[in-house]
Symmetry: C2
Amino acid sequence: MKSSPHVSKGLDDVSVGVSRISWVGGETGELVYRGFSIDELVPGVPYESVVHLLLYGEPPSSDPSPEIVEGLRRARPVPPSIERVVDALDPHLPPLEALRTILSALGDGSYGYPPTVEEGLRLIARAPVLLARYVRRAAGRPPVAPQEAGSQAANFLWMLTGESPEPAKVWALEGYLDLLADHGMNASTFALRVAISTQSDLISGATGALGTLKGPVHGGAPSRVSEMLDAIGSPERAATWIAERLARKEVLYGFGHRVYKTEDPRAIALHAIARRVADPHRLELAELVERIALDALRRAKPNARLYTNVEYYSAVVLEAVGLPPGLFTPTFAVARTAGWAAHALEQASDNRLIRPDIDYVGVPKGQHWPRPVARAPADPSN
Amino acid sequence: MKSSPHVSKGLDDVSVGVSRISWVGGETGELVYRGFSIDELVPGVPYESVVHLLLYGEPPSSDPSPEIVEGLRRARPVPPSIERVVDALDPHLPPLEALRTILSALGDGSYGYPPTVEEGLRLIARAPVLLARYVRRAAGRPPVAPQEAGSQAANFLWMLTGESPEPAKVWALEGYLDLLADHGMNASTFALRVAISTQSDLISGATGALGTLKGPVHGGAPSRVSEMLDAIGSPERAATWIAERLARKEVLYGFGHRVYKTEDPRAIALHAIARRVADPHRLELAELVERIALDALRRAKPNARLYTNVEYYSAVVLEAVGLPPGLFTPTFAVARTAGWAAHALEQASDNRLIRPDIDYVGVPKGQHWPRPVARAPADPSN
C-alpha cells in the first residue's frame, strides 16, 4: 500500500521545523540557550535567570530575574485539592512513577490552549514542591512548605530536608538545574510538542514528556552510574570490574550519546562542579573509572567516538548535593520543566499537528486467515 | 548551523517505519485491522475479539476471544492503593483531565520494559473501571464493581449506571469501541511510541497518548458536535444557524480529516449504528445538519474534499448509548487503549529511539544581547 516519501524509523535525519530556544552542537560539543553558551552561564547564573532566558527569549533586566522569582514564589503554594492526590499516592512507588502522576495531577482544568508563561511558571514552581512532599511522605515525614525568599534550587533542598541547605550544595544544584534546563529536540521535549500540536495543554504535554524521560535510553540512567560506582567500591577494583563487565557484554553507564560525538559540554561543566563539591574519594573513584572505562570502550569500538555523557557527572554532583539515586532522574525532570514550558510556548506560537505516517506491511485487506472473526447478529433488537 | 536533510514540521510526508497493526486508506476510505476491513467486523464482532486481533495479530479461536475475556476479567479488580488516588481526585475536574491522572496512577511500578500482553490487558481492563468510579464519585454515587461475566462494553455501562444496560446500547457501544480501537499512526499513538522508544513503560506511553488525545485537533471534539446539534435545536433552524456560523468564520464540528480525503469508513459504520439506536428526531436533525453543512462547506472550499469525520456520528451514537458529552472523548480513549497496547508491543519488538532534530534559528552563539546574564561568583566557598 502507499509508501510515504521519506522513511525514517528513529527520525534521526528529520527536522521537525525550527526553534529559537536552544542549540545542541553535537559535533563540536556545544549547548547554547538563546545565544548564550552554557559556558557563559554555568556555574553561577541563577536558575531563575535561565528560566527567564528560555521562556522570554532574552536575558532578564537583573539577576535573578525579578519576574521569574516573583512568578515562582506566587505559584509555589499548591491547592489542597492537588495535595490530596499526592498524599493518596502509594508511598512505595518509585519516585519517577509518582512524579508522572504528580505532574498530571497539576492539571486542574485551568491549563488551556495556547499555553501561557504563567502556566509555565506554575508547572516549574509546583513540580518540585509536590515531588518533595511525596518523598517526605514516603519516608513518614511531614511536608515542608516552601520558603518565600528561597531560590528554586535552595527551596528544593529545603523542602526535601527541612533544613537550611549548605550554600555549596545550593550552588552545585543550581548549576545542575541550569545545565539540564533544556536540550534542543530530545525525545521528551518532542513528546510534549506532539501533545501541544493537537492543541492539548501544558500539563498534558509535560506528563507525556515525563513518561518519555522515564525510559532509561533518555533520562533514566544516572542512578545506575551511582550503582556502578558503588559496585566497584574502590579504585583498585575498577580495572577488573570494568573488564569483567565488558567481557559479559554488559553496559557501562554514563558513556555515549546519540547526538554528541565529542565531549558533552554538560559533562565538562558538571565535572567542574563535582571537583568543588564532591567527596574527594568519590571524585577520585569516578575519575579513575571514567578513564579506564573510556580506554576500554574505545579499544573495543575504535570508531565509535565514545565520550562521557551528562549522566556520569550528574550522578556525582547530585550525590554530593545529598540526593538519593532514586531522585536523580526526577530532579532532571524538575530542571527540564523550564525547557518543556519554553517548547510548549514555541510550539503553540506557530502550531501544526505533528502526525507522521507509518507503512503498513501487515496482512493485506481481505487476505486474512481462513477463519474470519465471527460476526454476531447485526442488531440485538431483530 | 547544520540543517537536517529532511525538514517536515508536521511530519506529514514522513513514515516512522513499518507496522502490521492497522492500515488507514485515506484516499479510498478504508480502515483495516490485521487484514480485516472494519466493514467485516462492525457491527457484531465482540470488542474482546478485536483486542485479540490487535494484540496477537490473528483472530481468536472463537468469539469472544476466550483469552481476552479471561484476561480482562482477571485484570478488572483494581488494587486499593490505586483506587485511593482516584478517590482523591477533585470531583470537579473535566473527565478527560481526570482520566490522564487515572491512567498515570495505574502505573504502580509493575509495568516494565518491554511491555507485555498481560500489561496491555491490565490497561484495557482498568481504564474504564476507574473512569466509571471517578464519574460516579463526582456525581456523589458509590462505585459499582465490574460484573464477572460482562463484556467490556456491557461492563462499562453497568459500572457507570449501576443498572443492567439495554442490549441495543451494549451493541452500539461495542461497535463504537471496535471502530475506535486503532487507527494507524495517529498523534496519540505516535506519542506513545515515542515514549516506548526510550524503553519507558506502557502506562507512561498511554498517559502521554491520553494527553495528546486530549487536544481538540486529535480527540477532543465529539462533545462539540452534540453542543452544536443542541444549539441548532430543530431542523428548521439548521440552515440559518450554519450560514451565520460560517459567516462569522467559526468552525463546524465533525467535518474534515487530515488523512481521509473521502468518507471516513468509521463515520459510515457509526451512521449505520445510529440509524438503529438513536432517537429518530435527533438522527433526523443530525442528518439534516450534515447535509447542509457539507453543502455549505463544499461551496466555500470547492477543492477541499471535505467529508463527515468520525466525530460526527460518534456523538450521535454515544448520546444514544446514554453517555453525557463530557464522556465522549474519555470513551474514545477507553476504546483506543487496545491500539495503544498493540503499538507499544510492536514498538518494543523492534525498537529504536525516536528523536528528530529541529533547526535552531535563534540568536547565534555569542551574538546575544549586549547585557549578558550576570554570573555569580564561581564558588560560594571562595
